[in-house]
């Protein structure tokens, strides 16, 4: 009897510690996203500084907040494994440049808007969590924006942004794998096209 009790205790303790190890600090993840968006809105979008300074600040924020190496791997899908190291680096850099350009273009649309955070939802991936937010719109329902955050040690990185159920990572993956499949030039052609788009 005593032995059984001890075993249950040991098991409970074991389960507790593994759960704690696997868990992501949802509270801190939310704080991280709030900081990133605050930084973006106050110090970049609404700041009274020249465009070049805005772009530079945004680039820094973007690189600090998003794990583009991680996202890029997923985005290339099955083609990541067959890509050469050079192609991988070139792709990540081209994808990064296009994203920075795309998001800077959206600054104007974002003026005067703000995020209202609505807590977190768990992810099936142990070290990740979804931070929920909405953006009130001029008309109609607010837009739903969900941030997928990955924790490594005590560091947080955004690995996906889901706007109205549309995941940026899945969108890019669907588009780029379709492109590679339909294009005889393959990954190299994709990299060239992405580079051209971000000029």
């Amino acid at each position: 009897m005593k032995k059984n009790f001890l075993m249950i205790l040991a098991l409970a303790l074991f389960m507790h510690t593994t759960a704690a190890q696997a868990a992501v600090d949802a509270q801190k993840a939310e704080t991280f996203v709030i900081q990133v968006t605050d930084n973006g809105i106050k110090d970049i979008i609404n700041a009274n500084i020249p465009q070049a300074e805005k772009d530079a600040r945004f680039k820094k924020l973007f690189n600090n907040a998003l794990d583009l190496d991680f996202i890029g791997q997923f985005v290339l899908g099955r083609y990541w494994r067959t890509a050469t190291p050079q192609q991988r680096t070139d792709f990540i850099e081209a994808y990064r440049a296009l994203n920075i350009k795309t998001w800077s273009q959206r600054f104007d649309e974002f003026k005067g808007k703000n995020f209202i955070f609505k807590g977190t939802s768990p992810s099936k991936s142990a070290n990740q969590v979804f931070v929920n937010s909405v953006v009130p719109m001029e008309q109609g329902e607010p837009a739903k924006v969900v941030w997928r955050v990955k924790q490594t040690g005590d560091k947080f990185k955004i690995v996906d942004i889901i706007i109205e159920n549309v995941s940026l990572a899945i969108s890019a993956r669907n588009e780029y794998t379709a492109y590679i499949k339909n294009n005889p030039g393959g990954i190299d052609a994709l990299i060239k096209d992405l580079q051209a788009k971000s000029k």
């Binding site: 296009l98 991936s125 008309q139 329902e141 899945i170 669907n174």
Partner: protein, 266 residues
């Protein structure tokens, strides 16, 4: 070898059993499996693109030029008001009786006090819009979506969405109010189609331009966005967690890819 085959069979069995109703599309599914009509779709997409370029987009741009955001908001609110009978019907069909009542109430209040729906008076009173169309009703009744399908002029759709589009339009009060006078009826319904088409195109102008400017394959980009956006509405017996599962994918899909590669090589 045999072990591998067994693993693939087991996995595909798991995928079949876990794929409920309409939600939870696997990531690889999205571009390979659900676009069985890709050759036709791409051709129709091209046609629609030209139609948009020379007709719809210039109309929408012209409309934007000659109106202010305030006027466009009034037009959009009035157009949305005409959908309240549709929302009332579908809320009823989905068992949302309270929402159905709210939709009817909104239609009555906004059509009169809201000056033919130009102002959303009811929302100010604490009765916001409760959207529900036939597509969400059919989804709730567990009707499957079917393959991605580009319709002429109307664009991205699926068989279920296309049927819903037709059913939805039959609930337009303008259609019934003018039914007895064939002459007026035609003028009213055609004008409505043009006005709502142009107003809708104007309202998606920025997001459309954004997507087109930043994509290397506009067709694939739009397909992906469309399918993900509509993937949320689930069957009545789906749980909340299933709805979220659509974007809670596993980033490490290497194993899954390997299986697909093997299936392709066989």
């Amino acid at each position: 070898m045999q072990k591998k085959v067994l693993f693939v069979v087991l996995l595909s069995f798991m995928m079949v059993t876990t794929t409920s109703c309409t939600t939870s599309r696997s990531v690889t599914d999205e571009h390979d499996q659900t676009d069985t009509l890709e050759a036709y779709n791409r051709a129709m997409f091209k046609f629609n693109y030209e139609f948009d370029k020379y007709i719809l987009k210039p109309l929408a741009e012209g409309y934007r030029d000659i109106t202010t955001p305030y006027i466009r908001r009034r037009v959009n609110t009035a157009l949305a008001n005409l959908k309240e009978p549709l929302y009332a019907t579908n809320n009823l069909l989905q068992g949302e009786f309270k929402d159905s009542g709210i939709s009817l109430f909104r239609f009555a209040v906004n059509s009169t006090l809201g000056l033919a729906g130009m102002y959303d008076v009811a929302e100010g009173w604490g009765f916001p819009r409760k959207q529900a169309g036939f597509d969400s009703t059919l989804a709730k009744w567990c009707v499957k979506d079917g393959p991605y399908l580009i319709l002429p002029i109307f664009g991205p759709s699926t068989p279920r969405a296309a049927v819903s589009l037709a059913l939805d339009s039959a609930f337009n009060p303008l259609y019934w109010a003018t039914y007895n006078d064939a002459n007026v009826h035609d003028k009213v319904t055609y004008s409505y189609a043009v006005v709502s088409g142009v107003a809708t195109r104007e309202s998606v102008m920025d997001i459309w331009n954004d997507l087109e400017r930043n994509s290397v394959d506009f067709y694939a980009a739009m397909r992906s966005a469309y399918l993900q956006n509509r993937g949320q509405s689930g069957c009545y017996n789906d749980t909340e967690s299933n709805a979220q599962a659509a974007y809670d994918f596993d980033f490490g899909v290497e194993d899954e890819d390997e299986i697909y590669n093997e299936m392709e090589n066989q």
